[in-house]
Amino acid sequence: MSELIPRFFIGGSVVSLFAVMGGILKPTSFAGLFGAAPSVAIATLGLAVAKEGNSYAGVECRSMVGGAAALFLFSVAACHLILHFRIRAWIASLISLGLWAGAAFVLFHLLN
């Protein structure tokens, strides 16, 4: 429990920082790059290295390759749902999240 609170604040701060950076950049598509920024990764890998060491963090990065590929599918799906089906952004995100989960699950088993 004692490590969860600093983890919450570190993670929240790093994610917020990247979100703010995305919020002040134009055009919108360039700001969108920050929607896939390594915010959670930076916070978590930093904590993992401090607590468990480099090799542990390296294993996390291996799986992250699968997560990033799933994130690509998520983003493409959300884009198509909004652009072609004119679905609201939050609904498109929710639907695409299911795709992320499925793709991440498959890629996890391929990578490990």
Partner: protein, 143 residues
């Protein structure tokens, strides 16, 4: 294709929007730690690329674009969705760069000092995402 920094855009957002992203980012980081403890680093690693920023940010982009149009007396809903689609396209490119970030960490973390690897991985992400965006814009313009 000019990239601009618009600080005034921060005023368009409400404090609740920042709070949501802070809380969500914190929760995802905590959840990743718990997953790592229960299921190991391989399972937790997937969540390093969890779309933590995207849902709140894309919703905000849609809303703000629609509101800007509405202030001019026009219907903003379609403009909002176009802006959200643009944001999503950018996120797709960013996620390809994120793949490089992850591969960089996977390759070099076991052998080199962590601060050097993480900082250089971040630089790789920035360069790759920028290059992909410029290439995509050029390709789109040519079509």
């Amino acid at each position: 294709m000019i990239i601009k920094i618009d600080i005034s855009a921060l005023k368009e957002s409400k404090w609740q929007d920042y709070a949501i992203r802070f809380v969500f980012g914190g929760l995802v980081t905590v959840a990743t730690g718990i997953i790592a403890k229960k299921a190991g680093p391989a399972a937790a690693g997937l969540f390093l690329a969890f779309p933590a920023i995207f849902p709140a940010s894309v919703t905000l982009v849609q809303r703000e674009a629609a509101e800007r149009k509405a202030r001019k007396g026009l219907r903003g809903e379609e403009r909002g969705k176009d802006a959200a689609a643009d944001y999503s396209a950018g996120a797709a490119l960013g996620s390809l760069a994120l793949l490089l970030f992850a591969a960089w960490g996977w390759s070099f973390l076991p052998s080199y000092p962590a601060p050097l690897v993480l900082v250089s991985a971040l630089v790789v992400w920035m360069i790759a995402s920028g290059a992909l965006w410029f290439g995509w814009k050029r390709f789109r313009w040519r079509r």
